[in-house]
Symmetry: C2
Subunit: 382 residues, 2 copies
Amino acid sequence: MTAVPPPPGSTGWRREVGAERGNDSVTRIDDVARLAGVSTATVSRALRGLPTVSAATRRRVLAAAEQLQYAVSPSASRLAGGRTGTVAVVVPRITRWFFGTVVEAVEEFLHQAGYDLLLYNLGGREQVRQRVLRTANLHKRVDAIMLVATPLRPADLTALAELDLPGITISSGSTVPGWPCVRIDDVAAARTATRHLLDLGHRRIAHISGDPTDELAFTTHTDRRRGYQEALRHAGLRPDPSLDMESQFTIAGGNQATTELLARGEPPTAIFAACDEIAMGALTALRDAGLRVPQDVSVIGVDDHDLSGVLGLSTIAQPAAEQGRLAARLLLDPLVAGTVEPYAGRVPTPRGAGADDATTSPPVILPTRLVVRESTAPPRAH
Amino acid sequence: MTAVPPPPGSTGWRREVGAERGNDSVTRIDDVARLAGVSTATVSRALRGLPTVSAATRRRVLAAAEQLQYAVSPSASRLAGGRTGTVAVVVPRITRWFFGTVVEAVEEFLHQAGYDLLLYNLGGREQVRQRVLRTANLHKRVDAIMLVATPLRPADLTALAELDLPGITISSGSTVPGWPCVRIDDVAAARTATRHLLDLGHRRIAHISGDPTDELAFTTHTDRRRGYQEALRHAGLRPDPSLDMESQFTIAGGNQATTELLARGEPPTAIFAACDEIAMGALTALRDAGLRVPQDVSVIGVDDHDLSGVLGLSTIAQPAAEQGRLAARLLLDPLVAGTVEPYAGRVPTPRGAGADDATTSPPVILPTRLVVRESTAPPRAH
DNA sequence: CTGAAAGCGCTTACAG
DNA sequence: CTGAAAGCGCTTACAG
């Protein structure tokens, strides 16, 4: 699908040309201009705070706009100015703690800066991802893009490059040429969690992470699994594939994986869950199996989900809101400063995946923190 | 603030008039028209699926659009057509389970219908609410508004009436004249929860709900408190003010209120929390106080939060996603059917709060369901 | 510092 | 069923 037709509409209604303009019509820029005794160009400049307007004129324009309850028409402004004042924010699932928290922080920042937030929730639907990333859907619709934990294939990267919009990624493995990235060090976080269990004396440590074929958080899965394995190896242990479960980043996924794990025979003495939601699912499954936490099995996750404190879940805390705020700032700063040209109908030479990496700065890594609660303790045998 | 200036921008860049138009410029409607050998009017009609285009012409236009990778410019289309293809969705806090779940369902429905979703997260900031509701901010920016659990004061209602946009509310107490409302019966839900505790034999039943002065979910608080009191009275009990706590609809709020409740002396044998998040906070506080659930204190909430199963929390389940989907459908149906005229610059006679109630249909009430888990049991004395 | 005028890229009566 | 032309309401070189 190339052309994106607007929603089928009615036959339409439009103010008749030359019709009376009493208080039956909404204020337009020329109404303000007339009242202020200036041209529309001056109104436009004054309202946007451009420096090339005298103080006295600006005052008159603002007063007139106030009096007439004038608000600029976004459509007209966008068409004429080439800027949309809108940012697309793409998340895998807004209902997951991390993404909801990020979006909340981003929303506040964007709206304070006067930008609108267009929300795209992939919801696990691959077709949505394709529509968002690969078609001209975002074209002319937003000034910038924020991708949160969105895995990108080569074809996606090409599509993004063709879009030629500024953007930023959060918690992303795939680097988009020219886009900054804000994230935590997933490998280190996993290492810390696993080491915490090792330090307590655990040796049979299971891992539950995402399905590697699941596109939703590909690199997060991989990185956290790697940290787990590195910590084990560093302790002289060989990762046991039968203790390494692939699942979903959800409570249900954690529950199911843990149940399956327990069915395999001798249970582990500890579980490192790749996120707190998985850990919560593990907690249920363990309880249902009659195993106590932490006496029989220790559990640790990653995130510091709002509920982790309630559950007494040990975890690796990551600053979700801060990642969102920082990313929003890094994204908007160049736009506001005017260092980025507004979209103007050019089609650039596609840069392609990794073609232009030289201009891409290294990811901004935010710190994580081990939070020890009641779900981790030394194994019983000790 | 009346005029909403766009974000300060750069000096601008624009394609030079008469400049070469090789593959250096993005496809416009006249490129498609030329390739298809028709006028731009016909391209516009064909792409939007209007019936007044012959099959053969439509085919040629679609092929040309496909070949040129044409995508309509939203700004131009909106300015010319008077429709934005965008819906504003206002929620108190996207991070809370109910709102995240609603937004996820709404997002899917809107995007499938070809609409964009502009997200407004109030985040407890009153100034944001005012900016969203009372200024011309939404004016000309969206085709419709969805307010989720947004309390409305008379001034807000006046502002919404002046906006003259179609809208819908979810879980709202304030009725907006002319707008449908989708919700559950909060009074009945609270009654059922309380009756469940009464049926188990409880008599000292505490309630933790929202702060009545908190604007964020005003009627939800009130309704659930009313259901609680009604159930008590129906059982011949007089509501005890010392067992009725005012708090926030959050885990922290529930925690704090419960702690305070326990400090007052003899603890209740059961707690009805106005939402699951409050209930989760209560769970922690009880545990910290050395009280067991349900042996010492029973706890029930409202929502059926994703984690309630994990925690074994009894609750009144409400269909959050379904409320979102249904509301989105009710909102879009008239727009898509064309029964609603596109925005066209008229300023209607403000209808004011409750002025036009006759045209407002009664709320659509979705059913709730008592889910008994492990957090409720008969009191020990029994 | 300000204004006249062109232009942004579409959609819509209107006429055929 | 289709096209020519006006118009949507702004912003921006350009000229002063």
